[in-house]
């Protein structure tokens, strides 16, 4: 039962990821991106990481894709259809790149990745308390650094937007 659900979610995530990049209509891309995040969230839930699964739902599906859609809905699709996409990669380069990535993935799988089946986990593994303990007691420095980085990025975006506005006005 567990393996079957795992397989279904895995296949679903791969299919939806392919559909995200292959759709021409960006609203459908956003829809499949949502499906992709939902199936990844399901995979996390099956690994026992329920907090990560819920944050995946809450942040990626509940906020980030909504913002994507907000921008997409303001696009003019007639203009978009006329747009000819220049080929970003030739098929040969794409093939080499994907084979290299596949090889990279094979290495850890071959050399014995611990089984995906959660066997010997404590009862509250993946709960909010568990994550909080790890984050704020074991790695507080890394968390603080990450938050400073995010604030810097936010301030940077703000400054860039202001510079653009000034240039337009003068």
């Amino acid at each position: 039962m567990y393996e079957i659900m795992w397989l279904i979610l895995g296949i679903l995530s791969v299919i939806s990821a392919i559909l995200v990049v292959s759709r021409i209509n960006p609203v459908y891309s956003a829809l499949y991106l949502m499906l992709f995040f939902a199936s990844v969230s399901g995979l996390f839930a099956f690994l026992g990481a329920s907090f990560v699964a819920v944050t995946q739902l809450f942040i990626y599906i509940g906020a980030i894709i909504v913002l994507f859609l907000f921008v997409i809905m303001m696009l003019n699709f007639e203009e978009l259809k006329k747009l000819q996409r220049p080929p970003l990669f030739s098929p040969l380069k794409g093939l080499i790149l994907s084979l290299a990535l596949f090889g990279l993935l094979c290495v850890p799988i071959y050399f014995g990745l611990p089984s995906a089946h959660p066997r010997h986990l404590p009862a509250d593994f993946g709960s909010a308390k568990w994550i909080a303990r790890d984050m704020y007691i074991q790695y507080p420095f890394a968390i603080e650094l990450a938050s400073v980085l995010i604030i810097a990025a936010l301030a940077g975006a703000f400054v860039i937007a202001r510079i653009g506005k000034k240039a337009k006005n003068s």
């Binding site: 949502m34 329920s50 944050t55 599906i61 906020a63 909504v66 913002l67």
Partner: protein, 347 residues
């Protein structure tokens, strides 16, 4: 095996009761609205018009379901589901009654007690914005699109304030499990005041309440469907059963929100002196479900009362209230709650 049957029966029963409340609410909404506006309200179908919801349902099912020509058919069809399904799923984490011992099995009257509790509720309710957004975009109508864009902006803004209010409650009760939260609120202060979180966190409750109105698109925050400016907002192009599903979704979201407010701030199914939190008799469990129903019902009537009393906010007022009033207040509340929680280490 028999415990599995009991669990399945419990889930079916909770879901079946949950699905029966929206028609009742529609009747109540029309009656209360009529009372507030000094009218009589529905009184033709059955005694006191009590069969009116049934007549409405028959009308909605038998109506012609029109799909306009230029809509995006797939998204147009699935959009109402995105409103209704999350509202129903989010009810799964709400504990509706005391534990009960049946045929040797102790049954928790809660569909699922996740590790993440209240966070699951927040995550699932945040999905319902997709129904409005997809429905609005797929309708290919400018009024619908305005409604959709408004709802997206509104829901994202108020979700932040709601999340921050919930964090304050989590900090003061020290758990994310809704079940434990209910047990923690079952005792009393000074022998008569119930130990409800609303007395610990009054500001968080007010913020949560306002955000709940905005999240469920109820007046005074029903900008996405403002009739006077947007025709019908996101559901302008919808008719028949698809429209009814949007409608049902709104009421189901209201029920889930009321239930979660009762659980977070008003002691859930407990009531000191009436329900014994640690007893497992059938009588006690029934009593606890009744208490839970009365508390949730009071909130639902409050929702309706507010709708027919307050006028709609202007859009800039809505955004100002969300970002410049509620979020700073919630952050301040969070800060003081943190200081209070760490008072032993600081002072």
């Amino acid at each position: 095996m028999s415990s599995m049957v009991l669990d399945a029966g419990k889930i079916l029963l909770i879901f079946a009761v949950f699905m029966q409340i929206p028609p009742l609410l529609i009747y109540l909404e029309r009656k209360i609205c009529a009372f507030i506006q000094d009218r009589i309200g529905p009184n033709r179908v059955g005694p006191f018009g009590i069969l009116q919801p049934l007549a409405d349902a028959i009308k909605l099912i038998t109506k012609e379901s029109i799909t306009p020509k230029n809509v995006d058919v797939f998204l147009y069809t699935v959009a109402p589901l995105f409103v209704m399904v999350p509202a129903a799923i989010s009810f799964a984490v709400v504990p509706v009654g005391a534990d009960v011992k049946l045929w040797g099995h102790t049954l928790q009257l809660q569909i699922a007690d996740f590790h993440v509790g209240i966070l699951f509720f927040l995550a699932i309710t945040s999905l319902s914005v997709y129904g409005l957004t997809f429905g609005a975009w797929a309708s290919n109508n400018k009024y619908s699109l305005y409604g959709g864009i408004r709802s997206t902006a509104q829901m994202i803004s108020y979700e932040v304030a709601m999340g921050l209010a919930v964090i304050c409650v989590l900090m003061s009760s020290g758990t994310v499990y809704l079940r434990e939260m209910v047990f923690a609120q079952s005792h009393t202060y000074f022998g008569f005041l119930p130990a409800w979180n609303v007395f610990h966190q009054p500001l968080a409750f007010v913020i949560f309440l306002i955000a709940a109105f905005a999240e469920t698109n109820r007046l005074p925050f029903d900008l996405p469907e403002a009739e006077s400016e947007l025709v019908g907002g996101y559901h302008t192009e919808y008719s028949g059963m698809k429209f009814a599903m949007f409608f049902m979704g709104e009421y189901m979201a209201m029920i889930s929100m009321s239930a979660i407010m009762v659980t977070l701030f008003f002691g859930g199914w407990t009531l000191p002196g009436v329900v014994d939190a640690h007893s497992t008799t059938v009588w006690n469990a029934l009593l606890s479900v009744v208490v839970f129903g009365i508390k949730t019902g009071a909130f639902l009537i409050f929702f309706i009362w507010i709708r027919w009393t307050l006028p709609r906010l202007r859009y800039d007022q809505l955004m100002k209230l969300g970002w410049k009033v509620l979020i700073p207040l919630a952050l301040m509340n969070l800060f003081f709650t943190a200081i209070w929680g760490l008072r032993d280490q600081i002072f």
